[in-house]
Amino acid sequence: MAIDKEISADQDPGRRSGSTSPIEFRLDAASGVPTYLQLVHQVEHALRLGYLKPGDQLPKVRDAVASLAINPNTVLKAYRELENKGLAAGRPGQGTFIQATLSQVALPELTTLHRSLLGWLATADAAGLDEDGIVALFTSALRDFRERRSGTEGVA
């Protein structure tokens, strides 16, 4: 299922020429996450990573529908959700545009953090942890971090 989408996104520039959005949606049929939520998550993810910034256009409903073969109502629902969250706004006759940003950190700092994380991963690998072990350790550390932070701030 994913094959044709990958091709249309990466190897077929002709099909992208009509779209002015910096991102292209994909779907994971096996995830169990409702389709509209997958689209919402992908926009949020792209915002966090800096692929999308305020003023950028989201894929036109027609383009998303044509490339994913999904119901236009699903795309509209996802865009409504993004509007309700204050992340995007519709402009009549033009499309839906990003209005706010989710990335708390500027792109260069993101690169530095990414690099130091890769260094940590190499250390974990050298210590004999496999991927599942790394994820479990990271999740547990994140939980500790979150608990400690909410404890010091007095916020539940």
Binding site: M1, D4, L27, A29, G32, T35, V61, R62, V65, A66, S67, L68, A69, I70, N71, P72, N73, T74
Partner: protein, 308 residues
């Protein structure tokens, strides 16, 4: 304006009822999936709605009250029957010509540009096209009539995954561009799960479930807990029970806000789980929303099946 509205609709072939007591209202602007096992009456219902068969009992109308087969209904409804029938000896161009002359409205430019995009040579005979191309050609003929309602009977049964994706992309693009409403049938729910936002579940000739997919999913929960406690749930609207030695799964009509009893876990259900549960419980039904002709929707369900 409902795109299809049926009230007490029934169809008998000889001594066999293919469809009975069908009361149903499909609102516009949706992709409505008509789902059910083989022989549930899906094709019968669609044939009645497009005027290819006459009802034995009751009545059906399309596009806000038009009788099927009337000139106005014929203009507004396009139908692609099972196995996408085409005149196999006619070329694509001849089929366009024929359809243009048999209909009051036909968008020749749309049809030709679609064939171009699909890479279907206009001189090629329909019978020499691939299965996917034949399906796309039949769909193009239907969409070029610029219908308000597109009815598809088992449209993707013969198609490979790529052709299926492309076929559905064409239908969904027409919906995005022109706001055409779509009703399509299938016995394979999974292929519709991504496109359908309205579900009509037919079983043994009757409508068992009808409603917007979001509403149906939001109003059902799967409860998992001790098998011994499953019976205490008898007062709640339980659709289906699956019970092992120690553990039981109950599909109940409940929302995420409803309290969960201690010792039980509540999970959201998928469309497939919900459909299978209802198909296993022919006595249960979920007919929410305003259904003209039957103001009080039937709502029942008894835990009956016990699996070990």
């Amino acid at each position: 304006m409902n795109v299809i509205e049926a009230s007490g609709l029934g169809k008998r072939y000889g001594s066999t009822w293919a469809l009975r007591e069908c009361t149903l209202a499909v609102p516009p602007g949706h992709v409505a999936a008509l789902v059910g096992p083989n022989g549930a009456g899906k094709s019968t219902l669609l044939n009645l709605a497009v005027g290819l068969a006459a009802p034995t009992t009751g009545a059906v109308t399309v596009l806000g009250g038009l009788p099927p087969g009337s000139p106005a209904a014929l203009d507004g409804v396009a139908f692609v029957a099972q196995d996408t029938p085409l005149y196999k000896n006619l070329s694509a161009a001849d089929l366009l010509h024929l359809t243009r002359n048999l209909n009051r409205r036909f968008d020749q430019r749309y049809a030709q540009s679609r064939l171009g995009e699909l890479g279907i040579p206009e001189k090629r005979k329909a019978g020499q096209l691939s299965g996917g191309q034949q399906a796309q050609l039949a769909l193009t003929l239907a969409l070029a009539r610029r219908p308000q309602l597109l009815v598809l009977d088992e449209p993707m049964a013969m198609l490979d995954p790529l052709a299926r994706h492309d076929f559905m992309a064409t239908v969904m693009t027409a919906m995005a561009d022109d706001g055409v409403s779509v009703v399509l049938s299938s016995h394979v729910l999974t292929e519709l799960e991504r496109v359908a936002d309205y579900l009509v579940l037919l079983s043994q000739g009757r409508v068992q479930v009808a409603g917007q997919v979001d509403d149906l999913l939001a109003s059902h929960r799967m409860l998992t807990g001790p098998a011994a406690g499953a019976d205490t749930y008898a007062d709640r609207p339980v659709v289906h029970v699956r019970r092992g030695e120690a553990q039981a799964h109950l599909l109940v009509r409940a929302t995420a806000d409803d309290p969960v009893p201690p010792g039980w876990e509540a999970h959201p259900v998928s469309l497939e789980e919900l459909t299978l549960a209802y198909l296993r419980e022919p006595g249960a039904s979920a007919l929410p929303g305003p259904v003209r002709g039957r103001p009080a929707p039937r709502e029942s369900g008894q835990p009956s099946e016990v699996t070990r």
